[in-house]
């Protein structure tokens, strides 16, 4: 049948099936074999050292040293070796390394932090991460905000005050920004006149007659002055906007090139009013974290 295949030079296993069906004996190379044995030995050592076999509802724990760590809540946990505990231990070690710096920061005043390059570098880099985690969702990575929604933190205009204590109070307590809607209380012409006046406050060229009527409304029956002030410069205590500077947080005036477009933006705000809120961070961030964030926001470009 297959007599040509029998090679007498190669060793066979010695068995023959169907008369002449034989199997060559081609042993593994020794290096391969010994590597295999080495992996077997490795596996046995591994079983002894690390958690490995399921036993009923439990499992073998291994004889590797127990891991002890303290959780952020201050609870001490001792457990057999596992990667989660190893990570917790690493995190604890990192927290301990940061602690001396954090203690220094919590004791220091804002002025001291700014003056000391080491403290300010630490606060800055920690707060950069905190900002990205907690603030950037609304205020954007660099604090530029979104016009119409979230205020720009990098400019020098502050609804609630730009000193460190104001910024800290804002982060700690959150803010509620509120302006009533005038859409039902004022007529279309009145709103048009009013918007002419508001635009004139920040140096836009407008129709003089309309502006004069608007001014009367602003300082009179419409009651704008109650919040924005007679000089229209706003009041940090109630978060009312300064209407005389170039900064707009709700009406996208800088994005419009024509007077009509700018007026439409302002009118939209008068018609709808404003209702927006920044949540409180007290309780969600520690005092030291709030302090570092305050320092960071103050550094963004417009701190006073």
């Amino acid at each position: 049948m297959s007599k040509e295949n029998t090679k007498p030079t190669v060793q066979t296993t010695g068995h023959a099936w169907d008369g002449d069906l034989q199997e060559f004996n081609n042993p593994l190379p020794n290096w391969w074999l010994w590597s295999f044995y080495a992996t077997v030995v490795f596996a046995v050592i591994y079983w002894v050292l690390y958690p490995a076999w399921p036993v009923g509802r439990n499992y073998t724990k291994g004889v590797m040293n127990d891991i002890t760590y303290t959780t952020s809540a201050g609870k001490t946990v001792t457990t057999h070796w596992n990667t989660r505990a190893a990570l917790m231990q690493d995190l604890q070690a990192a927290r301990e390394r940061q602690k001396p710096y954090l203690d220094q920061i919590s004791k220091a005043s804002y002025n001291e932090i700014a003056k000391d390059p080491e403290k300010s570098a630490f606060a800055y880099s920690m707060a950069k991460v905190l900002f990205a985690d907690n603030c950037a969702a609304c205020h954007q990575t660099g604090g530029a905000g979104v016009i119409g929604l979230y205020p720009n933190l990098a400019d020098d205009d502050w609804l609630w005050g730009g000193k460190v204590e104001n910024i800290e109070a804002t982060i700690r307590g959150g803010r509620k920004g509120m302006m009533p809607a005038f859409g039902k209380r004022l007529s279309e012409t009145e709103m048009d006149d009013l918007s002419e006046h508001v635009l004139s406050l920040s140096g836009n060229k407008v129709d003089a007659a309309k502006e004069l009527r608007g001014k009367a409304l602003f300082e009179g029956s419409a009651g704008c002055f109650a919040c924005h002030g007679k000089d229209a410069k706003g009041q940090a205590s109630m978060g009312s906007a300064n209407l005389t500077d170039s900064i707009w947080t709700i009406a996208n005036v800088p994005g419009q090139t024509t007077l009509e477009g700018k007026k439409a933006e302002v009118k939209k705000v008068i018609f709808n009013g404003i209702s927006r809120e920044m949540p409180t961070w007290k309780g969600r961030l520690s005092d030291t974290e709030i302090k570092m964030l305050t320092f960071y926001v103050h550094e963004l470009g417009g701190g006073k």
Binding site: A144, D245, G255, T257, G301
Partner: protein, 474 residues
């Protein structure tokens, strides 16, 4: 059934020889060992930094080389050094063959020291062969054990010395003795001890013939003018081949008359060869051009008063009776590139700036409109002091019309040696003065030294959004 899947090593027992090349090679060996083993111990006075002449500080990311401090950002110098090393190799190999293999390669140098130890303990070639072939006995075990122990000592010193370059030598040695050194120090020392022992003690010429890529690819750098160690076949073989000096073949005239060449087939050239080849068979890839066979043959030629240089440094062209050319287009080409690379590297090292100013514009947001209508850009400024003294400096800007610069501190800044500082800078400009969306300007760092002021200039860009540009507004 056992089958051999690889070429088993044929043991080589090189015989000792003395002569010009042997002396040269020992001098190079002494020099190389002196530099390698003593350099970590050389102290060097610095205003700041370690007082070790050569110190590779991995943690501090600085390499101290005498008065030069190489920072991580200068790593391209290493690329330059490697380019020079490669070009030097091509240049030298084109002219003089495997000079590196024969004289300078650490495999050659360490193998030689290991052979010296071997000869010291076990005796000359014949004694070593005898010992190798003898059955195991306490005497043999003692000799072999002593050899291995001494090899291990050399290997250990080699590994340790390498490690010392990466730390403060005296401190690191005492730490290692007390078991307090960092783990990488032990790992490096042990690894190099092991490789030195295996490569120089056991593998030896197999490293050159089987492992080393350079040994194989340098053949392409050879040309007919390249210097090679070669046997003068015409003179050595004569018409009727080489012959042992028998009764009638002692005098040179008799040999010539009988048609035999000058080679008396003593075998000395083969016995001294560290790679175990016979140079009389012509050029072979195993030959590392160590030139010991030249010394061996000349010793014999001198003793029987024959002319020297039956084996000598020559070239294929010289063997054909023509003159060897050294300056051929290839060597000139390599020479020019080598010179250019060296000049570039030296220029780059000499003209390095010791005070670095880096400015990065913050891109989120790129520009901010301020309440008075000004545009503000923010920059992260980093100053790196690579000098060994404290810097006092001021920063200001030039080339931006009517712009204000604000930083946290208005005073002169102080920067300690080998430290860097980074701080934010805000620049404000009224859009009326902006001439383009992107305005190029310079940050000027002025160092106020006692004797002279130095300026470091860094270009940057001020960005004004198009809608704020006055020229664009209706």
């Amino acid at each position: 059934m056992t089958e051999q899947f690889y070429q088993q090593r044929i043991p080589i027992f090189p015989r000792s020889v003395s002569g010009r090349f042997r002396t040269l090679k020992y001098s190079i060996l002494a020099l190389a060992y002196g530099v390698y083993f003593l350099l970590p111990w050389l102290r060097w006075e610095r205003a700041t930094g370690p007082n070790q002449a050569v110190y590779f500080d991995i943690l501090g990311r600085k390499f101290y080389l005498f008065d030069l401090v190489v920072y991580a950002q200068d790593i391209f110098w290493l690329a330059g050094l490697l380019v020079i090393a490669a070009l030097l190799l091509f240049f030298v190999t084109g002219i003089a063959g495997r000079v590196f293999c024969g004289y300078f390669c650490f495999q050659t140098l360490w193998t030689e020291v290991f052979m010296l130890v071997e000869r010291l303990v076990q005796g000359e070639r014949t004694a070593r062969i005898k010992l190798y072939n003898a059955p195991w006995s306490p005497a043999k075990a003692l000799r072999m054990g002593t050899t291995w122990l001494l090899w291990l000592l050399v290997a250990l010193l080699t590994g340790l010395s390498f490690t010392l370059y990466w730390g403060d030598a005296p401190i690191l040695v005492s730490q290692m003795l007390h078991g307090e050194a960092p783990f990488p120090a032990y790992a490096t020392t042990l690894f190099l001890t092991a490789t030195t022992f295996v490569m120089a003690g056991l593998a030896r010429e197999q490293v050159c013939t089987y492992m080393c890529p350079y040994a194989r690819f340098q053949a392409v750098m050879f040309d007919p003018d390249t210097l090679i160690v070669a046997y003068d076949e015409r003179r050595g073989e004569g018409e009727n081949g080489r012959s042992k000096p028998g009764r009638d073949l002692l005098k040179r005239e008799d040999r010539t008359a009988a048609g035999h060449g000058d080679c008396i087939d003593c075998g000395y050239c083969v016995q001294v060869c560290p790679t175990g080849i016979d140079i009389r068979n012509g050029m072979q890839y195993q030959c590392i051009s160590c030139a010991l066979c030249i010394d061996a043959c000349n010793t014999i030629m001198d003793s029987i008063h024959y002319p020297r240089n039956l084996i000598s440094y020559t070239s294929e062209r010289a063997q054909e009776g023509k003159k060897t050319r050294i300056w051929k287009p290839k060597t000139l080409g390599y020479g020019v590139f080598l010179l250019a690379a060296m000049v570039l590297l030296i220029w780059s090292v000499v003209s390095r700036s010791l005070v670095e100013l880096n400015v990065q514009q913050i891109r989120q947001p790129l520009a901010v409109l301020l309440s008075n209508g000004d545009v503000q850009n923010r920059y992260e400024v980093k100053v790196n002091n690579k000098t060994e003294h404290t810097l006092h400096f001021n920063l200001h800007i030039e080339g931006l019309a009517k712009a204000d610069m604000e930083t946290e501190s208005k005073e002169e800044r102080v920067l300690a040696p080998e430290r860097s500082i980074s701080f934010p800078v805000w620049i404000r400009q009224t859009p009326v003065n902006a001439i383009a969306v992107q305005q190029h300007f310079q940050f000027i760092l002025e160092l106020s030294e006692s004797d002279d002021t130095m300026r470091v200039v860094r270009e940057s860009i001020f960005y004004t959004p198009e809608q704020y540009l006055v020229s664009k507004q209706p």
